[in-house]
């Protein structure tokens, strides 16, 4: 399904109007656009609304930039974040032209750490978000579709996830099962953050199951599976996508925290949290740049994702119209 609008559809082709309007007639042209809008798909409409949200577009732009940094940055930056040349100054050098973000105690370039760290941090946030989305939609759809005892059992499991302080479980899981590997941390974050999505999907299912259009589809004999995937899920997907952006943002922060405590990514790899791991001891020396730049990278990326989530919330809510 294309998120980008078809330009011909946007220009307002005379789809259903019987009397073709003259281009000079402004009022008629407005009515024409109105007609053309009706022929736009759900995603095209959403994209039109999203584009109007200035902060969301800025956020999206920055996020795309971060993804590009994550992919190509390590190739361009001349320093290896794991190369330990030994510092010429105890506590690392302050920012300079050669090292725009300074160096750390071991003489490693902080800028290289931030650029390389983007890869693991964004990957953990993004992939764990996808896992959470898939598991959450699956569990929520099963619970909402079958109802009864299946629903009851699954929702008690979801309740349990909500009751256990998540951070406590993540620390234990990362330390005992994570083994410093990116893949295991992605799995841990993904498999611990789906319950909110399951709850959202189930709630939409419960309300949509009783709606008129589902009733109508059932009346004409549409199969249950088709009702689920064609009629209910597309209508329930808006809040899910918004929740997924929030999960991505929070998982990036969680990874940083877990790695900061040395329970996450092992020291032979670089993530933003990892770059912060030894920063606290340096703060006492007045060396702010170790802690400042990786943290800023996290904060700005998370803010960008939150803006995108905000824009999506407005764009995907079917009640808001252009």
């Amino acid at each position: 399904m294309a998120i980008y609008p078809d330009p011909t559809a946007l220009s307002g082709g005379p789809a259903t109007t019987a009397a073709g309007p003259t281009p000079a007639d402004v009022a008629q042209a407005d009515a024409d656009v109105e007609v053309a809008l009706e022929s736009l798909g759900q995603w095209q409409l959403a994209w039109r609304r999203f584009r109007k949200h200035r902060m969301a577009m800025v956020g999206l732009g920055f996020f795309v930039f971060m993804v590009l940094v994550a992919i190509f940055g390590p190739i361009i930056v001349p320093y290896d974040p794991l190369n330990i040349p030994g510092s010429t100054i105890p506590g690392g050098m302050p920012p300079s032209l050669a090292h725009p973000f300074g160096t750390d105690n071991d003489g490693r370039d902080v800028f290289a750490m931030v650029v390389n760290g983007a890869r693991i941090s964004v990957a953990i946030g993004g992939i764990s978000m996808l896992i959470a989305g898939i598991v959450g939609v699956g569990v929520g759809a099963i619970a909402g579709y079958f109802g009864g005892w299946v629903d009851n059992v699954l929702m008690r499991v979801v309740d349990t996830f909500f009751a256990i302080p998540l951070l406590f479980v993540i620390l234990v899981a990362a330390r005992f099962f994570g083994e410093g590997q990116v893949t295991s941390l992605i799995l841990i974050f993904g498999l611990l953050s789906w319950p909110i999505i399951a709850r959202l999907v189930r709630a939409s299912f419960l309300s949509l199951r009783e709606s008129d259009f589902v009733e109508a589809a059932r009346a004409v004999g549409v199969k249950d599976a088709r009702i689920t995937f064609r009629h209910i899920l597309p209508n329930a997907i808006g809040p899910v996508i918004v929740a997924m952006t929030l999960i991505m943002a929070s998982n990036i922060v969680l990874e940083a925290f877990v790695s900061y405590l040395n329970f996450g990514i092992s020291p032979d790899q670089t993530s933003w949290g990892n770059a912060l791991a030894n920063a606290q001891s340096a703060l006492g020396l007045g060396n702010w740049w170790w802690a400042f730049f990786p943290g800023m990278a996290i904060a700005i990326t998370v803010m960008a994702i939150n803006f995108v989530g905000d824009g999506l919330r407005d764009a995907l809510d079917p009640r808001t119209r252009l």
Partner: protein, 368 residues
């Protein structure tokens, strides 16, 4: 209503059961496991280890049935020393001790002993409780006050400069990693400006004994002012770190709840009657907006509990969060299970209280 409360309590039981299973499995299935941790400790003799293992039904190389027995023993349903579901008195083991039940397991308040220190887990947790309560209590009061004030003012003066600044500041703070904010505050106010202490809860040089010992409380009671001042100074940075991020989210929540309420018909009616704007806002709009806000407040206590672990590790605050962090480092399984379980039960109880309070406070909602 009674029926609703009873049903919510019954619904909580399977959740509590699942929580205990998750806590148990998480710890027992961890590589190494508690038995391996014992073997590492040179202060424990083999005889002690064997008694320890027997007391907790722990078996080296357990089968599935052994694991189930371990779980039931930890829970207190299974009598480990007797090897049956019955206590030494011949009654079901899960009954309270004074009714003839057993004494082992969490149902009887026995959370086991710390592998690291050998102390009873419950005693260790209780010793750390005051510090966590001081931190969370102060944070909660400040946070609720500021979030509600900022949110209500922003809603009343919608689109004003104040509203826009609150929105902007919330956006910025909402995206900050809590622990990183703590690091930056340490650098600015602790290291550079030297306004506030950055570690611990008391200045150990000025106290006769470590915090929360009886000697400390005795000195505290004799002359409380300097001690209160000491704790207060240590509280500033951790509390700011703990609440800054959540205030950002919650002032937005309060603002939208208040906006909802300001657009209701009864507010227009109140204005039409000629009541002063202040009365309209405080007595009509705000009182109705309080409902969702109060529910949210109760739920956020659970969030604070999670946030405590972040703040306490960054600021070396001697509370439960720090204890948990140290426990993870030392693989102190019984301690971890105890904190995880107590924390989760706290959350379940808070949710239950919030739901019931909501049902009582809002007569429009019927549950049946």
């Amino acid at each position: 209503m009674t029926q609703y409360i009873v049903r919510r309590v019954i619904q909580a039981i399977p959740v509590l059961f699942l929580i205990s299973v998750v806590s148990f499995v998480l710890m027992m299935q961890a590589p190494g496991g508690p038995a391996a941790q014992f073997n590492q400790n040179p202060h424990i003799s083999p005889a002690q280890i064997n008694k320890w293992l027997a007391d907790w039904c722990l078996v080296r190389q357990p089968t599935v049935m052994d694991t189930v027995r371990e779980y039931l023993g930890w829970l207190g349903v299974w009598n480990c020393t007797g090897g049956s579901f019955l206590s030494a008195h011949g009654l079901p083991n899960f009954l309270p001790a004074f009714l003839g039940g057993g004494t082992n397991g969490i149902l009887h308040g026995d959370f086991g002993y710390s592998i690291e220190t050998g102390q009873p887990v419950l005693q260790m947790i209780l010793a750390r409780l005051p510090a966590t309560l001081i931190l969370m209590g102060t944070a909660f009061v400040l946070w609720a006050t500021i979030a509600i004030l900022a949110g209500v003012l922003a809603a009343v003066k919608r689109y004003s400069f104040f509203d826009q600044s609150v929105t902007f500041v919330s956006y910025v703070f909402y995206s900050l990693p809590t622990f990183w904010l703590g690091l930056i505050l340490i650098f600015i106010f602790g290291v550079t400006l030297r306004w506030f202490p950055v570690q611990g809860i008391v200045n150990v040089r000025n106290t006769p004994a470590p915090f929360a010992t009886s000697a400390y409380w005795a000195a505290f009671a004799a002359n409380p002012l300097p001690y209160l001042y000491d704790i207060g100074a240590h509280l500033v940075l951790p509390v700011v770190t703990l609440i800054a991020v959540s205030i950002a989210g919650d002032s937005r929540f309060v603002r939208s709840a208040m906006l909802d309420s300001l657009h209701q018909d009864y507010v227009r009616t109140a204005r039409a009657k000629g009541i002063s704007e202040r009365q309209v806002i405080v007595r009509h709009a705000f009182r109705n907006a309080m409902l969702p806000i109060l529910t949210n407040l109760a739920l956020e206590i659970a969030f604070l509990f999670s946030g405590a672990i972040v703040t306490e590790t960054v600021f070396s605050w001697p509370g439960m969060g720090r204890l948990y962090y140290d426990g993870v480092n030392a693989r102190d399984y019984f301690l971890l299970m105890g904190i995880l379980l107590i924390g989760s039960v706290l959350v379940v109880v808070m949710n239950l209280v919030a739901d019931i309070a909501y049902a009582i406070a809002d007569p429009r909602i019927r549950y049946d």
